[in-house]
Structure formats: C-alpha cells, structure tokens
C-alpha cells in the first residue's frame, strides 16, 4: 500500500485572538484511501486539538465539509489525499464567506438566499393532507432531478466571481434551486419565483464564467440552471404540469398479483393489501 508523509498547510484564525489568518503546517502520515477529512481528524486527534472544521456524514451527503483545498472548493470527505499528487497540501476556508474560526465559515448568507427563492412545491391544488399521488413521468422528473442533488455545501458560491464583490447576489445555489422548483411539473409558482430571480440581484448578475458548475461536487450544474432561467425569462417556458392521479380502476388488472401478507403483525395498510391486514387508521 502506498504511504507518504504529507505536509498540510492549514489556514488558522481564532476570533478575538488573531487579527489576520495565518498558516500552520502539520505532517500527516497518509495511507492510500485516506480522505482530506480523515487527515484533518488525524491532526485534531494527534497533533493539534485546537483546529476547527465542520463535518458530519463523511460521505458527501451533508455538505458540511466544503473547504478550499489546493486552490479549489471541494468536499474534504470526497477528496482522496494521494490523488492530489502533492507533498504539501494547502487548505483554506471557503472564500466569499465570513470566517468563524479556522476552516469554519458562516453560511447564513447561503441559507438566507436559499429560503428567498421559495425552495418548495407550491400549488393551489396541494393540500396538507393529500389523498392521491401526483403523476410525474420520467421525462418530467429528469427536468429537475440533477438540481435536486444540491447539498447546500456552498462550493459554488466560493467559486463564483460575482459573489466575490456583490453581497446582494442571490448566488448560484439559490438560483439553481429556483430553477429546480420552477421546472417541477407539480409546482405552479413559477411567476412568483421569477419576481425574485429575474432581477439584477438574481440571474442577470451571472456572467456565465461557469466556475460554479466546475466546482460543484454533485454535478448540480448551477450555471446551466441560471442560463435556462434567463432563457425562460426571455422566451417563456413551455412547462408541462402534472395533476393528481385519477381514481384507481375498480377492477384490478388480472396480471397484477395480490400484495403479500404484512410480515409485521398489526402493520398499518391502507386497505389495499390482500384484505388480511388491518384497515389503516386515517
């Protein structure tokens, strides 16, 4: 197995203590398979317990561990240390955010903007107690699925040149989410969202430098979402809407077999099982 001692140059900053951030170096014995996050834990556990960083899932799902690794925003838990092919690795907190401590940045701006674009399905038909499902085709799903994988890690905002100077810019993450919900066939609030994003602080501040899509660890492609929003703003969108499923046919097709009996005694069914289960409480 490949083993190597790698020097980690890590940017440190303690509030009310340091005036300016500075770099501190740590030597870490790295084995093949170790991610940057594991190296940071090695440092915290063995070399310097005062170092701060965020992480949770350590599998690229929670979006906590985004940081600026070797000149690019990346997820620490998804970055293989040896694949960076360097004997020194520089880690800084994500740019374009305030630093709270060391590698921990203040992401409130991201979440504030995320909330601004109404990131949920709005439909006058939706009720809090739906009795039927929506019908959505695979093609309709794939209109927005890619943008649905956003972790809110904030890598895209760190890469965006507009974000570097414009404190009011909604940012690639929020704009991509506006597109995600606008193109969802169940949603009917496209106009309300356009009021928010079809503005100088929204899609028109994007210059299509593409850095956000380049940096996104999930292939969300915010730049595409923003350009398609611009297109819909100018030419309009031809969106298909999906409705609630109609009533189920009375007579089930003969080729569809009965559902198996519930394996847990007394399990709730909605009454559509084989009739042996209890009727669901509703």
């Amino acid at each position: 197995m490949e083993r190597k001692t790698i020097v980690f140059k890590i940017q440190r900053y303690a509030p009310n203590q340091d005036k300016e951030p500075y770099f501190k170096s740590y030597e870490v014995p790295v084995e093949q398979g170790m991610t940057i996050l594991e190296c940071l834990w090695y440092i915290k556990e063995n070399l310097d317990s005062t170092i701060s960083f965020r992480s949770s899932c350590r599998m690229g799902i929670c979006g906590s561990c985004a940081m600026f690794i070797q000149g690019r925003p990346r997820l620490a838990c998804e970055t293989q240390t040896l694949e960076l092919k360097s004997s020194t690795i520089e880690i800084k907190p994500l740019p374009n955010y305030d630093i709270i401590k060391d590698l921990v940045v203040d992401q409130r701006n991201l979440f504030r903007n995320h909330k601004k674009v109404k990131p949920y399905i709005i439909s006058e038909k939706a009720t809090s107690n739906p009795t039927k499902e929506y019908i959505q085709s695979v093609a309709q799903l794939e209109q927005y699925l890619q943008f649905n994988y956003c972790l809110k890690c904030g890598c895209c905002l760190a890469a965006c040149p507009t974000m570097a100077t414009d404190t009011n810019f909604l940012g690639p993450q929020a704009l991509a989410q506006a597109f995600r919900y606008n193109t969802d066939s169940r949603d009917r609030a496209g106009n309300a969202r356009f009021q928010i994003v079809d503005t100088f602080e929204g899609i028109w501040r994007c210059h299509m430098a593409g850095a956000c899509s380049d940096a996104c660890p999930k292939g969300v492609d915010p730049a595409m979402a923003i350009q398609l929003l611009k297109r819909h703003s100018i030419f309009g969108s031809r969106k298909e809407y999906s409705d609630y499923a109609g009533p189920l046919p009375k007579n089930r097709r003969p080729d569809i077999p009965d559902a198996p009996a519930p394996t847990v005694k007394g399990a709730r069914t909605n009454g559509r099982g084989n009739g042996k289960g209890k009727k669901g409480r509703r």
Binding site: R72, Y97, I100, Y144, Q146, M208, S213, D221, K230
Partner: protein
C-alpha cells in the same frame, strides 16, 4: 469577531484552479473596459478637429508613433475578442449549446464542458482575425 473573507475584485481577476472560461470571463470584462477607455480617448482626440486644421495636424502627428500603433493593434485585439466572445456569451446565456438537464454520473459533464466545442471554434475565429490584423498592421 468574524473575518471577512470575500475576495473582492481579486476574485474576478484570479481565475484560480478553474476552467478556461473563468479566464475568458475576466478577459471579456477587461476588453470591454478597454474599449470604453479607447472610445473616450478617440472622442477627445477627434474633437480637436473643431480647433482647425493646424491643431488637427498636430494631434494626428502626436498619435503617429509606434507606441500608438501597438496601442491601436491592442484595441483591435480587444474589439475582436470582445465581439466574438460576446457572441458566445449571448448564445450560451440564452441556453443554447449548453445541453439539457440530465442524470449526472461522475465524472460530471456540466454545461461549461458541453459548450466547449463552441468556445474552441469561436476562439479559433478570434485567432484568425487577430492574425489578419497582424498582417494588416505590421506587415502590409
């Protein structure tokens, strides 16, 4: 106390470890500003014509050296790049040549990669036009 880590104008200029379009972006901004600067100089210079023929001759003599010739060539380059890259931006910002939303498998192919053939094509056009102006300015 939080430390403000916004990159500022540095964040425009320093392309960092990103794709080439990130550099085309700053070049577009610089060339656009350069063209405005040229336009203002040009207006001031040509306005000397009002003051009569001798002043005009003197103004023309002032800008006839090799320094201004290279300057004019750079304006030409900026104009060619800005116009052609501006065409690319209009195309892709209207959502053409950037592909369609689709399921992503690692390694991802985002829009910026999908528009790359267009980018290479148009940059070849820029190179060809700049080559023609090199001939026009310095050889012929």
């Amino acid at each position: 106390m939080r430390y403000n880590n916004r990159l500022g104008a540095k964040g425009w200029v320093i392309g960092g470890n990103y794709s080439i379009e990130r550099y085309l972006y700053i070049l577009h901004r610089v060339s656009g500003l350069a063209l405005i600067f040229y336009l203002m100089c040009h207006l001031i210079l040509t306005s000397f014509r009002i003051a009569g023929a001798p002043t005009w001759e003197a103004a023309m003599a002032f800008v006839s050296g090799p320094f201004f010739k290279v300057g004019e060539f750079l304006v030409m380059c900026a104009g060619v790049y800005h116009a052609i890259n501006g065409l690319r931006l209009i195309i892709i910002e209207l959502g053409y040549c950037i592909g369609k939303p689709e399921r992503q498998e690692y390694p991802y192919t985002p829009s910026i990669k999908k528009q790359r053939p267009l980018m290479y094509l148009l940059m070849l056009v820029v190179a060809a036009l700049v080559a023609v102006s090199v001939v026009d300015f310095f050889i012929m």
